[in-house]
């Protein structure tokens, strides 16, 4: 029976390793089971980190799984003698503390630059020789159950009379850094664009900032990844990245649409 359980537990790490190895790379039949194609600049680095973390985890899973399976197979309670129990073993404990700690510290340091770029270093713009934080282009307000996108109007400022409000459609210029201001109007939501590898929880009462660069014009999916109530699954929106020229044209068109037709000027 021990042989059976040993082999059984061997199958788990092998299957997990096999499936994740197959899914991690693009040329396998399972490709695309992880994340959809990436369209953000920072996303490339994030994908590389994802694969690295994944590879480390796979090696650890396989290693510990093999040890477990072999132990069951070899040392199982075959002739019903009592097992041996070590309450303490200094060398062993040093080894299994130092190695994982080393791996974790390496990963923490290795991803720090990417974390800094995507979460800490707010993009800056130069105004009259001064470097100022780039103002947000769109105010994203999550609600149960939908997304409000308040695009800055021609004045480039948010929360003014010329804001362009659209529900469930986020229009953005591609090939440049954009900053979003994220808010929630009721409960905790989470703004997730799988195609851009960005995700941010929205907490009522807080104004979060998020920035990224969409590499090229593309249409992507926005979803909520924080269970927010019965309609959570309906919180889907469209992100449409267009060229800067098209974006500017859209702002003008939408602004004009929000104005009524005026009477002819009397001469």
């Amino acid at each position: 029976m021990n042989r059976f359980w040993g082999l059984f537990f061997l199958a788990v790490p092998l299957a997990a390793f096999g499936v994740s190895a197959l899914a991690a790379w693009g040329w396998t039949p399972l490709a695309g089971f992880w994340l959809p194609a990436n369209y953000s600049r920072e996303g490339e680095t994030i994908d590389q980190l994802f694969h690295l973390f994944h590879a480390v985890a796979a090696v650890v899973l396989l290693g510990t799984g093999l040890i477990l399976a072999w132990s069951i197979y070899r040392f199982g309670n075959r002739d019903r003698t009592a097992a041996q129990y070590w309450p303490h073993h200094s060398v062993l404990e040093w080894v299994w503390t130092i190695i994982p700690a080393g791996i974790l510290i390496f990963l923490a340091l290795f991803q720090m630059e990417s974390w800094n770029r995507s979460k800490a270093a707010h993009p800056e713009i130069e105004v009259a020789g001064q470097r100022l934080p780039q103002p947000p282009l769109v105010r994203v307000v999550a609600k149960r159950f939908g997304w409000e996108f308040h695009h800055a109007g021609p004045d480039g400022k948010l929360q003014t009379a010329d804001d362009l409000y659209v529900e469930n459609l986020l229009l953005l210029p591609a090939a440049e850094m954009v900053v979003l201001q994220l808010e929630s109007s009721d409960v905790i939501h989470s703004f997730f664009v799988p195609g851009l590898r960005v995700k941010q929880d929205l907490v009522p009462g807080m104004k979060q900032k998020m920035w990224f660069e969409v590499r090229e014009p593309v249409e992507l999916e926005i979803i909520c990844t924080e269970l927010c109530g019965w309609g959570h699954y309906t919180m889907q929106a469209k992100l449409q990245a267009v060229t800067r020229a098209e974006y500017d044209r859209w702002v003008v068109e939408e602004t004009n649409r929000r104005r009524p037709e005026l009477a002819e000027v009397e001469q």
Partner: protein
């Protein structure tokens, strides 16, 4: 340093009978699911039945009990079921003719249980996206309805608030499409922008189907209230064992009802609403914010707001929507105006709640200090809502205002959210 400790085997959980029962129950739920059994059914408008019964107090016995099955039969024969909707055809019409055939096909694709085929064509969109709030019957009483404020729309009155047509005219297809695509900000109605255009227009047709079906049913209830015990229709004629005579009488009566109520009243009302669209006249040039006379226009708007149009009565002096707040909308007024109902005493209307009426809630006048309005924030939307009023709500139409006064009001309301304190 090395000690030997005896380890006893953990007693196996599986040997305990209680654990085994839990696992068996888990399997049963996993295999059987917890779906309600049986096909979906249109619910009768029992609130309307009860109202008619109370209005015609001389009538003996319950109208719902006397006529429920007959009305159900008429509706099923004429308009089908939630799984297989039908559309009445003029006598002598050909069901295989276009555009009738493809229209009915679209209704049937929108109805029924949810699924998609391999090409990604969706079936049962109404139940996928709408029914959990608006209900399978379109009665605005889906499972999530009571948790929402405002309540989801009950289509059966055939009244829609946000439209480009005047009061008592139905909305155009564009109006309904816009509500589905853009949602209603400030309510639980979300934007279905990610749906394909084809699905949205099919849903528009289905919403109209439910609205017209509801109007037709209400008309039948009003009819039977005056019949004083005579049958509306001999339902024996719809059964297998009916004689030829009964069957012919049944068909004839059904045809009569279809012509009198469906074609002459309901379908007539829904014909070509686009002909009645209110087209706002061009705004005065001073409407443009850059114009030097803009402030004068806003001031005129303020005067109209506080004077002639008396907006402050409901929207309040500050525009916060805190004026008159004790009014109800038509969907509630429908039954709370029935003699004998007193909202202060719950026992006077408990029977209405049991019949499916939503617990009454006063309708709130809009807070105009919020920059985004429910029925669209474009100047033309605001113009239409001031000129035409809002169907089903205490917001009246304003025939006494000139178009310049309405534009002045629009300009005033548009700047309210940003007005300096």
């Amino acid at each position: 340093m090395v000690g030997r400790v005896e380890l006893s085997l953990l007693s196996s959980g599986l040997t305990k009978p209680v654990t085994a029962w839990w696992i068996a129950l888990g399997f049963m739920i996993a295999i059987g699911g917890c779906q309600p059994a049986g096909p979906a059914k249109f619910q009768l408008n029992r609130v309307e039945a009860l109202k008619q019964e109370k209005l015609n107090s001389a009538e003996t016995g319950s109208i719902a009990a006397n006529y429920g099955t007959q009305i159900e039969t008429v509706l099923r024969e004429l308009l089908g079921t939630p799984d297989e909707p039908r559309w009445p055809l003029l006598d002598g019409g050909d069901a295989s003719e276009e555009p009738y055939a493809s229209f009915v096909k679209r209704l049937q694709r929108t109805a029924g249980p949810v699924s998609s085929d391999l090409d990604g064509e969706h079936v049962g969109m109404y139940r996928a996206h709408c029914a959990h709030c608006h209900g399978v019957t379109g009665d605005g009483a889906g499972p999530t309805a009571t948790a929402l404020n405002p309540y989801p729309r009950d289509f059966r009155l055939g009244k829609f608030k946000f439209k480009s047509t005047p009061l008592r005219k139905p909305p155009t297809d564009e109006d309904l499409t816009r509500i589905i695509r853009e949602g209603i900000p400030g309510t639980a109605m979300p934007s279905f922008r990610t749906l394909p255009d084809d699905d949205v227009s099919a849903l528009v047709d289905y919403v109209k189907y439910l609205a017209m079906r509801g109007e037709f049913e209400r008309r039948l209830w009003a009819e039977v209230a005056g019949l004083e015990g005579d049958p509306l229709i001999d339902i024996a004629g719809s059964t297998e064992s009916a004689t030829d005579e009964q069957r012919a009488a049944f068909k004839e009566r059904l045809l009569e009802l279809t012509e009198d109520f469906w074609f002459d009243e309901v379908a007539m009302r829904w014909e070509e609403p686009a002909e009645y669209i209110t087209v706002p006249p061009p705004a005065p040039t001073s409407y443009a914010v850059e114009h030097e006379g803009h402030q004068a226009l806003v001031d005129l708007g303020r005067q109209v707001f506080f004077g002639k149009a008396n907006c402050l009565q409901c929207h309040g002096e500050t525009g916060l929507g805190d004026g008159q707040t004790a009014n109800y909308d038509d969907w509630t007024n429908e039954w709370i105006k029935t003699p004998g109902v007193d909202l202060a005493i719950k026992s006077t209307y408990r029977d209405f709640l049991a019949a499916g009426a939503m617990p009454p809630r006063p309708v709130r006048p809009r807070n105009l200090r919020h920059p985004i309005q429910r029925g669209g924030s474009l100047p033309n939307d605001l113009y239409r809502r001031i000129a035409n009023g809002i169907e089903g709500t205490p917001m009246p139409s304003s025939p006494a205002l000139s178009s310049d006064e309405i534009w002045a009001l629009v300009a005033y309301v548009k700047q309210l959210p940003y007005e300096a304190k």
